[in-house]
Amino acid sequence: MAITDIKTFAHLTAADIETLGQELDSIRRSVELSRGARDARYIRRSIAAQRGLEVAGRAVLFGSRNRWAWLTGTVLLSVAKIIENMELGHNVSHGQWDWMNDPEIHSSSWEWDMTGPSSQWRRAHNYSHHTYTNVLGKDEDLGFGIMRMTRDEQWKPIHLMQPLANLLLATTFEWGIALHDLSIEKELADTPPRELMSQPNRDFARKISRQVAKDFLIYPALTGPAFKQTLKANALANLVRNLWAYAVIFCGHFPDGAEKFTIEQLENETSAEWYLRQMLGSANFKAGPAMAFMSGNLCYQIEHHLFPDLPSNRYPEIAARVRELCDKYDLPYTTGSLGKQYLLAFRTIHKLALPDRFLKATADNAPETSSERKFAGITLPSIGTGWDLTLPGAESTHWLRIDPETGKRRGLRSALHEAKVVLKEKARQEKELLREAKAALREKAKHEQEMLREATLALQERARHEQAALRRKAVRDKPFRFGRRRR
């Protein structure tokens, strides 16, 4: 089962976690204090650039009967939609720019160019997802309600459809999100799910009709004879944006190493533990400045989850400091290339489509989820390191927090590493045992075969003897019979 006790899992004491929390707080504070004109310029320019791209794209599409114009327009529009969604919509709605006190760039009023209403998304995402990040049963972004992303969740036959569900979610991502948010909104607002004219439903209907009308009716109609081409361009731009947003989100949450938690962990969780949960529950991917911008800086998903309301343009510098903390506390910092992170998520999606009996690992120690029990009872006789390699688990006690040789803190990262070494060693030993057992068996079999052969030989010998005896007997009896006949 997923992590129930983050302290044990992280190999930190309550005091350690507390100081870690304070260090993160001070990062937050220093960024807050240094927010200023430079940051404001960043977001204003981003907005202006996005609007410029969009206007240009829409304008070029008026000539979309020409193939090149069509292509250019589609590309411009796709890029504009991606920026609008990732760097603007997502981040503004998180309140990252509320400090500017600008009513037009404010979380309470920003509306994005996606099907679902921003207000519903804000509740579902900013509240549910960011408060209960990766807590099973609380964070509905864990698989978006249609996929099994951890083996903590029970397998159902419907999960066999997972590869298909994944494809569908990726291509229609904005709709997936919109419906997902609508249901969470109804739940949070306590609206009867079947009441057709409820406020959430009405907001939803109004927003989607505007969005659909704009992209699939009004713009195409405005371009007149290029109706069909413009329609296609708009649809494609939406598709591109959907795929990209999907990929970014999946890379931030589902690669191996992004941990899951149980409700138990949530009980009495301190704010420092909350930080730690965000850190261990998210994953980054490596990106240069351009890709970072296009992902709304969500390639810094760990930093985003730690500080969802700090300006996105500051994530790179925050990331450097968070990495330092990870080194200091010997905590893992999950990252990798976009391709690698996605493949890991992809692997999980397809693996977990299968029932558990086809899966090898347990929910305590699997690539996509592990728990503090992963370390329990893993012991290895000293392999020349000079210290006892008992790893702390539920019941063990002697985890050395400081490496006696280097004087460095030994935390989760070392533990994960050593668990790997231990498990490998254990596997090696088991293999060795197996080989020995096999050899012994083979020997035994050989021996038995030998014995069998001997026994067979002995039997054959005996049979021969008996046959000979019989023959002799027969010879002895013969004259008597002949004699009688003669008579």
Partner: protein
């Protein structure tokens, strides 16, 4: 034609067209049909969101203005002349104030200042455009007022909030008027005087103004000119640097008919309290109008009375109780989500007073939007919820 056919009506279509721009309807005027129609295409934005990238004043989504002149009044005060953008209502009443938002270091700061100009005012040299003006006095601790008096360049774009306030002069003005002002309390009264002057309706007006020295008197020359044009207007200067505070008891000897006059008073809180008491004592409260300025302070208190504007409820809290809890304790429906400062669900505007961010001690004031789950009252405050 306005005829109804098949359930459609011109009005219905018009409403449908305007719907996307409904939030700015009250200032958009006739342009709203167009704005609404174009918004079908620009949704979820408004056409204004694109237009103001070309010219910051081309937006009715938000009132804006451009500073066209900064005129020194005294050593520490200045008049700012502002050309408002689309949608500004020039039919305000003399004596009202406006909210003005200024960008400093990437952040918008809101303050309220009395308008000093008469309604529908134009000034030669500005192309016959209608303008507004405010007068700002630099406060020792007020970083924004100092910035406005000595640092704001002509051409700066500001945000504006519609004129408001009940400290106004009725039309026609009463036969006998008394203005009691001190310091920058003169600003709303200037607007009244200028409006009277422009409409050539200066009745019997007495003005008593207190300032520390003669150099501190704002609009001194203008007041003299006003008297020259309209002898029924008399201005008396009281210099507190020389004579100390004006004693209300002297009113009887100096202006024996003060009880008959309709009085407008504006100045420091202590002075207004005194005036309030004095007028009540003589049973003339019905003829007294006062305007209290929020004085810029940097040191504000801990806790206070929180008023929830829309529901009208109030509660007394300490400096550690979050505004969210404060509201919930008196049954106000406060929006909330995470209750830990990360989700922005609980954001509410501060209408007046001061609020402190409990996480880092940052102060917020009128016009700021705050997260109620991690903010507490820093003195009395009113929230827009």
């Amino acid at each position: 034609m306005g005829s109804k056919r098949g359930g459609f009506s011109v009005r219905g279509v018009r409403e449908w067209l305007e719907a996307p721009a409904a939030s700015v309807a009250e200032r958009g005027g006739r342009l709203n049909v167009l704005r609404g129609a174009v918004a079908r295409v620009t949704t979820p934005l408004l056409p204004d969101d694109y237009l103001h990238l070309a010219n910051p004043l081309w937006s009715a989504r938000e009132l804006r203005g451009r500073i066209v002149e900064v005129r020194k009044e005294t050593a520490d005060s200045a008049t700012l002349v502002i050309k408002p953008g689309w949608g500004f209502d020039f039919k305000y009443q003399p004596g009202q104030y406006i909210g003005i938002g200024i960008l400093v270091d990437g952040r918008w700061h809101w303050r309220s200042y009395s308008l000093t100009c008469p309604p529908n005012w134009t000034e030669p040299g500005h192309g016959g455009k209608r303008l507004i003006s405010i007068a700002v006095k630099a406060m020792p601790e007020g970083f924004l007022s100092s910035h406005l008096v000595s640092g704001v360049p002509v051409g700066t774009v500001v945000r504006l909030a519609a004129p408001q306030g009940g400290f106004v002069l009725p039309y026609p003005p009463p036969e006998k008027v008394l203005f009691l002002t001190a310091g920058s309390g003169i600003t709303p009264v200037m607007s009244m005087l200028r409006a009277m002057d422009r409409r050539e309706l200066v009745t019997d007006v007495l003005h008593l103004h207190s300032a520390r020295t003669a150099d501190d008197v704002m609009f001194g020359a203008e007041l003299r000119a006003l008297h020259d044009r309209n002898p029924s207007f008399r201005s008396h200067l009281h210099l507190t640097g020389e004579h100390g505070k004006f004693a209300l008891a002297d009113l009887d000897s100096k202006f024996p008919d003060w009880r008959e006059r309709h009085t407008w008073a504006c100045g420091p809180a202590a002075m207004l309290d005194e005036i309030d008491d004095h007028w009540r004592d003589v049973g003339r409260s019905d003829r007294l109008h006062v305007e209290r300025f929020e004085i810029e302070r940097s040191a504000v208190g801990e806790g206070g009375t929180v008023t929830f504007g829309k529901s009208g409820r109030t509660t007394e809290v300490d400096g550690a109780t979050s505004l969210l809890e404060a509201g919930e304790s008196v049954g106000v429906r406060m929006p909330f989500g995470c209750r830990m400062g990360i989700c922005q669900t609980c954001v509410v505007t501060v209408n007046s007073g001061y609020v402190r961010d409990l996480r880092n001690g940052d102060e917020h004031r009128e016009g700021d939007k705050v997260q109620t789950c991690i903010s507490a009252a820093a003195g009395d405050c009113t929230l827009d919820v």
